[in-house]
Symmetry: C2
């Protein structure tokens, strides 16, 4: 058996499934940020020629999926499973993408944790015998998300410095069974372990400070991962959360320190901090399903291919709120899912 359970919530994959190909597509603001050179495609038109932002979001997601399939060097009809999610009500951009792709499909909702949720399940299916080739994808669109969760960007409402900006973009990853033939050249990246998160809620109720709502979940999952996998933080060259932004990242460091875990700066980073520059206009950084998805599938995969990173732990964090639960005075439950990418 290629999958084993360590502790309550951690999976070890040995032999481990293969990251066969990735795709990353982003919008204009992301394409002007520090990671620009590492995305496959940058679109300047937020509509992508569509009539609505929601339809444009679907196009970003479709393009990322098609690029991942092309990178993987396979045909779309060879895929056994497709896991996808997004922020739209009833995750319609994912379902409509699945309609275009025609691959057997599981819809997911994990807010900004979705990309790792999808990769965990895709890796489980690939390692567990349920799929030779699987696809995980996630995306978001700033104009579709902001109008749904807060205010349409076009209103120009004042935002405070704890606010994160939803990323316009998508990422997709093709994951193959452990015995699938690796490409003859280039670094082989394998998905070696995963820790499934629990919902953690420390009673933060401010939808303009989601980093604070999600940091406790990231801490909970990281502590479980280190303990259950039996590794120290320095096993990894990089632990990449997404998306705590500037505020949540500092909180995470404090929470970890309180638990006796110290991670040197430089070894811990956050996709929400990396994807935009730290100019004031970018507030606390990026967020949205597309942020970690595009950062991991674009920048991180390339850094691993370049040999600059060998072992990365991706920790995607989700704020499981809705506008209705905010109106009903509920606090914001957070969750974080972790998966390790390692060059072997």
């Amino acid at each position: 058996m290629s999958v084993s359970l360590a502790g309550r919530q951690t999976w070890l994959f040995d032999p481990a499934p293969l990251l066969l190909g990735t795709g990353s597509v982003v919008g204009k603001r992301e394409g002007e940020g520090p990671l620009a050179a590492d995305f496959d495609v940058i679109h300047k038109d937020p509509y992508l020629g569509q009539k609505s932002y929601e339809a444009a979001e679907q196009k970003f997601l479709e393009e990322a999926c098609n690029l991942a399939v092309r990178w993987a060097g396979i045909g779309r009809d060879e895929l056994n499973l497709h896991f996808s999610g997004d922020l739209q009500n009833q995750i319609t951009s994912s379902s409509f993408t699945a309609r275009s792709l025609g691959v057997p499909y599981f819809g997911l909702f994990g807010a900004c944790s979705t990309m790792v949720e999808g990769m965990q399940l895709a890796a489980l299916a690939a390692a567990g015998g349920a799929g030779r080739l699987t696809l995980a994808s996630a995306g978001s669109h700033t104009n579709a998300a902001e109008k749904q969760f807060r205010y349409p960007n076009e209103y120009g409402a004042q935002k405070n410095e704890t606010t994160q900006i939803t990323v316009t973009g998508a990422g997709a990853a093709v994951i193959a069974a452990p015995d699938f033939p690796a490409k003859p050249s280039g670094a082989q990246i394998r998905l070696t372990s995963a820790t499934v998160g629990r919902v953690v809620d420390l009673n933060v109720a401010d939808p303009f400070n989601m980093g604070a709502a999600m940091a406790p979940a990231a801490c909970d999952t990281l502590l479980a991962h280190f303990k259950e996998r039996g590794v120290r933080p320095d096993h990894y060259d990089l632990i990449l959360t997404g998306d705590l932004g500037r505020v949540g990242s500092n909180l995470l460091l404090d929470l970890l320190a309180n638990a006796g875990v110290f991670i040197p700066s430089g070894q811990l980073n956050d996709a929400g901090k990396m994807i935009f520059s730290d100019e004031p206009k970018n507030l606390a950084g990026g967020s949205g399903c597309g942020c970690l998805a595009a950062t991991a599938c674009g920048h991180i995969r390339r850094e691993m291919a370049r040999g600059r990173l060998k072992r990365v732990l991706l920790v995607a964090t989700g704020a499981l709120l809705s506008p209705l639960t905010t109106q009903q005075k509920e606090s914001i439950p957070g969750i974080a899912h972790a998966i390790s990418w390692e060059v072997v």
Copy 2:
């Protein structure tokens, strides 16, 4: 390895994971229907003492999960994984239930297909080595869903005869690894195979006729299941779709007949038809995540325990629309996921 792939989209489990316990909780209308005697709990108060229908939906779901855990004879802290989904925007009743339970959690969205989507993934995890004990759950609330997708029930808007009525209720199932000790007495039900659905869209765009939008997906999944598992329809004592209602069920029979597959009446039924009587006030029947979930986890499990059914194929169908996609003139993509329960 306990999981193998048959064709593109069917999983065979051998040895197969065990259905260790189920829970079913419904509201007043369902509690007055033909299946009333087979639900664990019937609540007459649609609010369950909560301040909103959404909070009540969460209570239904929590109670079903807790009942399934109690039936299974285990402790909640023994569960490795919880898969759940519902119809609320951002599936908040599931995420808030997961917050109460404290079990590592995957949020799903498959509309009314969610219960089977969850059981498929829970069975994969249990059979594939990723969890000794897993939980799948799904729920819906008529007053929460109708106001979100169509009109608040309180408006008393006229409905036509193709309309289905969202069920108030929830179901939950505890699924154990194949080698988990079965209970010494009673029928052993195992999850023997699963077929993951593709999105099918024949361009139905009427949100008051969702049975018609979902029937083609049910047909597509059934044909794939028979072919890939290598069984004829009469392998099963009952093929239970959910929720095509009266209109969609007739369409499914026509579509199957066109494909050369004939299923005798009595061997094919639909949870949306079974859960309410066929009085005109019940229109085309029930729908919603809770419909198949409560019917399978309440009535079907008991019929199998009574020895009246030995092999059942559950085919949950989802209409992957949102109110926004309807306003944007999109058609309704459908999906159907199948899982077999067999007494061994």
